[in-house]
Amino acid sequence: MTYIAKPKFHHPGLKKNELGYTHRDYEGKISTLCAGCGHDSITASIIEACYELSIEPHRVAKISGIGCSSKTPDYFLGNSHGFNSVHGRMPSVLTGANLANRDLIYLGVSGDGDSASIGFGQFAHSIRRGVNMTYIVENNGVYGLTKGQFSATADRGSKSKKGVTNTDNAIDLVAIALQLGATFVARSFSGDKTQLVPLIAAAIRHKGASFIDVISPCIAFNNHAGSTKSFDYVREHNDAVNRLDVLVGRDPIAVDYAPGMVQVVEQHDGSKVALRKIDADYDPHDRLGAMTFLQKHAAKGQIVTGLLYVDPEAEDLHEHLNTVETPLNTLEADALCPGSAVLDKINASLR
């Protein structure tokens, strides 16, 4: 762990985004995770995605549970409010926060212990409710803070650092998210920033429940021979279905999209997700196809990465509940209280 304060000095020549913010404006505290942790790479990708989207950092609420992954919101968007809640309960806290103020951007950061075990129910229900959020699981298949126990995403047959073989089947959070009706489902690898940054950016722009499972090797407890979440293993078994870029409506640059190789997905808010297919047959609008594709490759021992499914017409929880556009946390007595005259009528009806 390090307690070195991060210098506040900004180089005047740092590149700025549309709002005039530099990368430094999207950073947080210095990470206290192990050097080389995949989670720090994800942190860097979140910073990059928010910078590229020109998000106002303070308009993001970053919420997590407990564990290595859940520490990471402290390391990005330092001017945002963060909430390190309790183990596995990030989704409910995020849901409540979202209900209170629909105008903010909600980033939920979780881990495999957090989301696939103690918080499996909360993960499932936040997805099925369609909470407008970007839910990122930093998935290393192991409990790092308690020194190396298997998590529920650890593959059957994989070995712990102590040499124990996992005899339980693994939970595939992406498969579950697809089944539960998530309207944006992706998987990536923490070391593949080229793929991960646009995925995060697209997820943020998506209106509805966005879920990204990011394989993130644990340098301390799950990066050994026999692990199926190590850097080496994932590099060897990574089968990307597509590459992806985000086009925000006000930025029409489309440099990477060769004719015939690009699929543009228009989202609810007008932003566009352009997919460059590696697998020519892959259709990211086909939920059933995505589930089949996922299972087929899983059977081959391959990890599918990329944007697996997106519904550009998705609705979120607020639309399901038909709530007012004004954030609920700004409503005061004049808007909420029916008043004494109504109460008199209620009293009269109770006699």
């Binding site: 303070h58 390190n84 129910g121 004494s340 109504v342």
Partner: protein
Amino acid sequence: MPDKKPISSVNDFVVRFANVNGSGSASANELFARAILRHGVPVSPRNIFPSNIQGLPTWYEVRVTEAGHLGARGGVDMMVAMNPQTWDKDVAGIEPGGYLFYDSTKPMPSTKFRDDITVIGVPLTAITNSTYTDPRQRQLFKNIIYLGALCALLDMDPKVIEQLIGEQYKGKEKLLSSNVHALHLGRDWALQNLKCPIGLRIKRADKVGDRIFIEGNSAAALGAVYGGATVCAWYPITPSSSVAEAFTSHCKKYRHDPETGKAKYAIVQGEDELASIGIVIGASWNGARAFTATSGPGISLMTEFIGLSYFAEIPAVIMNIQRAGPSTGMPTRTQQCDIIACAYASHGDTKHVLLFPEDPAEAFEFAAASFDLAERLQTTIFLMLDLDIGMNHRLCRPLKWDDAKQYDRGKVMTAEMLEEGRDFGRYLDVDGDGIPYRTYPGTHPTKGSYFTRGTSRDRYARYSEEGPVYADNMQRLVRKFETAQDLVPRPLQANAERPTKYGVIYFGSTSPAMDEAIGLLEARGHQLDRLRIRAFPFHSSVASFLAEHDFVYVVEQNRDSQLRQLIVNENGIDPVRLVPIVHYDGTPITARFIAKAIGDHQDHLKVTPLRKAVS
């Protein structure tokens, strides 16, 4: 004629209906209670039901009480025995000289009756079968027919019941006329075949005044609407479910934007209690007024989050409608048994604010106030009802609201305040009251953001495991709890007519039984000063009351005298001076019980009643 003189009483008796759950009797029985109210006579009804859906026994008791005693009395003057399964128990429960009303279609052997009661048989099944062919109609109208017979037996005005039926089925003429017809079927049969009225009678009076008749859960839900709650997350559990259901119903009526039709509220039925309180905490953290409603088992599940709310200082309102525990206990029976569990919920050193309303009117007021308190104190507030208040209609004063009232959002630092250069430390005790300022997420681009966590941190919300920093924070939380003493509703004291060395402390739904018990104790020669506790932390007047009396009885509805434990623990007094009076069989405590328990204790202490000492 029975060998005991039949009870003769006007406007002061107890009628109990024994029914089969699911037989549709509830609405007829409630109609009976309402009809007596419309005669200007107060009633105190109670549902007594097991935890099942259909087929098992259920009872509905109506205490007719011109004197206005709203607690349960105990004993039954008239039993309307409509459930063969519970016949023996029901007949045994009738007071000597009381009345048994039953369906006499099938003859009963004389051994099934008692010699000291009056038996009234009405061939209800025969009447319904000769009038209706549809099985469901036969079942439902049988209830209205016995209501009609009671109308004649108790000398009630049928027009009052007709009017109530008219209000119930307004716009549904067919239902209205068929119900009125059934009412008269029963009434006419009774008038023609029985000696009406019996010794128990309803006589018009003017003792109800402007009081209203409402369930505590509904009143609490209305309090949440008036108190500005916009987010409700809940998970069904008896006896609290009707809070959220009533909140939903009230919101649908009063909380939609007239132009867009959109809702100014969000209600989520969580997947469990953990999610429900998590949603409440997330919403409150983000500046909305949020609550959940649950019961004891739900509180058990929520305790981890409640600890977070305490330590991270996030407002939350939990309405706990208590039932008999531990574990599943008796889900449909009343108790006041979550006092300790809520006061110290969660691990580590925690203390929480509890509010104890005595009736629906206070349930409304305290529910509305709980949102101010939660935001003011930035912590969890427990509204402690119980099944007896929550799921029973109770007569209470009308609900009142001051239109000039604005919500107290507590110490919230705005963008303007931050811009002025105000020092913001999330856990900084600026005013010495232990309450820090908070900011809502998204307030300012560069100032006022902080990280909320359940781990220890310093005054500026920076993670720290330094011992002195942790202790400093914990001491501030103690200061905050002391501040709460003066913000929560104060105890109400009522002194005996003559000076006394003895006092009694009570709270919540015990209130009406206690009020009545005082009269019974005075009649027995015992004088007691009363203190009704309305909140925890205890106001200093609780300690004063204890100091002023040699012995103080603590009356409560749980086995371990939990409020007494809390008083001893928080005031550091000799527990011997606090005498527990406990009632915990799941039925509401009665005046008879309290008066006997305290009276016997006083006699046991060989305390000479003041009246005798004077003589």
